[in-house]
């Protein structure tokens, strides 16, 4: 078992543990902190796949910006166990049932899939996720959607300014 494989199993276990802890934590702030652990583990996976750009963006955007927003909102709302309305047992039951069905669907698909059998992820040789290649594709084939995405941000900014303006 090489270093990569050890790292892979470690990160996988960490991601699963983090995800389960997000769900079982009573305190919402702890859930958010565990979610950050999940994001770090997944970023580690991206690095193993040689997709450094994705790993960094995942950390900056999700673990950095969005999690801060999460914490901010949770602290503003001042949640705690006493005031939290209790969900009925039926809601929990249906939630588990639908989630479980989706999970079993995916597992059965992946197990039975012919395409995925005996395939392993490209670990070191994959170069799709390198910043150099990504930049080339982004500014040649995908230049129009890239520009439209910039207009999308313009739209979001104008909207935020209009709604949030004083007076």
């Amino acid at each position: 078992m090489g270093t990569t494989q050890i790292l892979f199993w470690f990160l996988t276990a960490l991601a699963l543990l983090g995800a389960i802890m997000v769900l079982v934590s009573k305190n919402p702030v702890h859930s958010v902190l565990w979610l950050i652990v999940v994001f770090f583990a997944i970023s580690g996976h991206y690095i193993l796949l040689n997709a450094q750009f994705l790993a960094i963006v995942n950390l900056i955007v999700y673990a950095g910006a969005i999690m801060v927003l999460f914490l901010f909102v949770i602290m503003l709302m001042n949640l705690n166990a006493e005031t939290e309305p209790q969900k009925s047992i039926w809601m929990k039951f249906f939630g588990v049932a639908t989630g479980g069905l989706l999970l079993s669907f995916f597992i059965s698909f992946i197990v039975s899939s012919i395409d995925l059998k005996n395939k392993t992820a490209q670990l070191k040789e994959g170069d799709v996720g390198l910043i150099k290649n990504l930049g080339k594709v982004l500014f040649s084939d995908y230049v129009i959607p890239f520009e439209i995405a910039s207009i999308l941000f313009l739209s979001a900014m104008v909207g935020a300014v209009v709604i949030g303006k004083k007076d």
Partner: protein, 486 residues
């Protein structure tokens, strides 16, 4: 990308630059009138650009976009709607305290989003176009944020639209996992070579349909429609009812054409079910409505259900019928919401049915236009709505889709009841003295009446001489089909 491809994209580039021009004008502290006129001229420029590039079409801009005849029809319809909505916006916002200038930036950005949807042939451009449209709409719906319902409506739309985007992305990811392609043609090719039953593809389509049905406000994803239509400013309601639906329907048609969606039994069952419950639900919910904006919201749910009946056959006749129906529906709703805009006062929109009592005796022209628009929505002969419904029925009967067709006929009769109820209110006697109209620049009042008259002529013209419109659509579509033979 070569120069011909850039040329084909010219209308979209002009559309994108329109919003930047407006931003610069706002920075230069120009008045509302200047911005309105510039916006109008920019939209005219888009139309001119479309005319200028007509020989370049059809042209694919690999891997994401294709500008062909179908895109031209849908984009043309979108730009036309925005031209008219822009005109109505002036008189609506001029009399309100709030600063109306940023409104035009958002409208043009939303239009660009809908236009990008019409030329998409790839999941990435679909998603970006849809987000551009939705994000502009979030802000537009809540634009008059001092109004009671505005922020509530904007919030509802934000949460539900973000949710539906998540469904869309998940569906796209599943289809990508199954076929290894996000390109419509690539997906179609992969599906043909793949022998086994595409379980992930079915799930993906199901999840994507949730998002599409949400955007088109079809039952059972219609819950936002009435509240958002009521809470949004009237021109924005008009925008949601026409532009955003044209864009989403265009991408649905293009995707279905590429992957032969109607040849999958499960897809036909899902779409027929949604169409039937939308027709029944929309019409039944509209019956008791006293608020005209909510009533038009429910009626638009029913109309999108009718539109899906045209979508079901999946052949050229169905697409033509759908396009004509969308054309008729758009101009009708533009006219109806135009009247609502004209009657809205400084404090509140004219959304209560009481405000329309005796409208015909107070203002015969407006009364007549609203009557024709409602008759067209009901599908009475000599209006565009009748021809549209006829074309849809024709397409459905040819494919022997008996159940949706029968439901369409029955629910149309139910629909007639509440349209006629409004019309009878228009002609009722009234003793109430309504305040005189506000003094606006006569040029804009004339422009608005001109726009309403153009819509009236189009409504009647397309109802009496539909062949001109139908032939036009056919010509454009032939151009679109040429690209398949390349």
């Amino acid at each position: 990308m070569d120069s011909l491809q850039l040329q084909a994209l010219l209308p979209f580039i002009v559309l994108a630059s329109a919003s930047v021009v407006i931003i610069l004008l706002i920075a230069a502290r120009q008045s509302h009138t200047v911005i309105q006129i510039t916006g109008f001229l920019m939209m005219c420029l888009v139309v001119l650009a479309m005319w200028y590039v007509r020989d370049v079409l059809p042209r694919a801009i690999m891997p994401l976009l294709v500008v062909d005849g179908m895109a031209a029809v849908f984009t043309g319809l979108i730009v036309f709607c925005v031209l008219i909505i822009g005109l109505f916006s002036f008189i609506y916002f001029e009399e309100r305290e709030e600063n109306p200038k940023e409104y035009y930036i958002l409208i043009f950005l939303g239009t660009l989003g809908a236009a990008v949807l019409t030329i998409s042939r790839h999941f990435i451009s679909v998603f970006i176009g849809l987000e551009l449209l939705s994000i502009s709409l979030y802000a537009l719906i809540a634009y008059l944020r001092n109004r009671n319902n505005a922020v509530e409506a904007g919030m509802k739309y934000l949460v539900l639209a973000a949710m539906s985007s998540a469904f869309l992305l998940f569906g796209m990811a599943l289809i990508y996992m199954d076929t290894g392609s996000m390109d419509f043609d690539g997906i179609a090719k992969q599906l043909q070579t793949q022998g086994h039953s595409p379980a992930l593809f079915v799930t993906g389509i199901g999840l994507m349909m949730v998002a599409v049905c949400f955007k088109l406000a079809l039952v059972p994803f219609h819950l936002w429609a009435a509240d958002v239509y009521q809470g949004a400013p009237v021109p924005v309601t008009n925008f949601i009812a026409t532009v955003s639906k044209i864009g989403v329907f265009a991408v649905l048609v293009r995707f279905a054409q590429a992957v032969q969606l109607q040849s999958y039994h499960f897809a036909v069952i899902i779409i027929s079910f949604v169409a039937i419950v939308s027709m029944v639900g929309g019409n039944l919910l509209a019956i008791k409505q006293q608020n005209i904006k909510r009533l038009l919201a429910y009626s638009s749910i029913a109309h999108l259900g009718y539109l899906l009946v045209a979508f079901l056959p999946g052949n050229a006749a169905g697409i033509e019928a759908g396009m004509f129906y969308l054309f008729a529906y758009s101009i009708t709703l533009l006219a109806a919401f135009g009247i609502v805009t004209m009657l809205s006062g400084r404090q509140a929109d004219a959304d209560q049915l009481e405000a329309y009592r005796g409208l015909y005796w107070r203002n015969p022209l407006m009364g007549a236009i609203l009557t024709v628009a409602l008759l067209s929505l009901a599908g009475i002969p000599l209006t565009a709505g009748f021809i549209g419904k006829f074309a849809v029925l024709n397409a459905g009967v040819q494919q022997q889709l008996w159940l949706p067709v029968i439901v369409l006929v029955i629910t149309s009769v139910i629909g007639l009841y509440y349209y006629l109820r409004i019309i009878s209110t228009l002609f009722a006697e009234t003793q109430v003295i309504f305040p005189k109209e506000k003094s606006l620049h006569p040029l804009f009042v004339a422009g608005t009446y001109g726009a309403l008259l153009v819509l009236l002529i189009l409504l009647l013209g397309a109802g009496i001489f539909p062949s001109a419109v139908i032939d036009g659509i056919k010509n454009f579509l032939c151009q679109g089909f040429r690209i398949i033979n390349f």
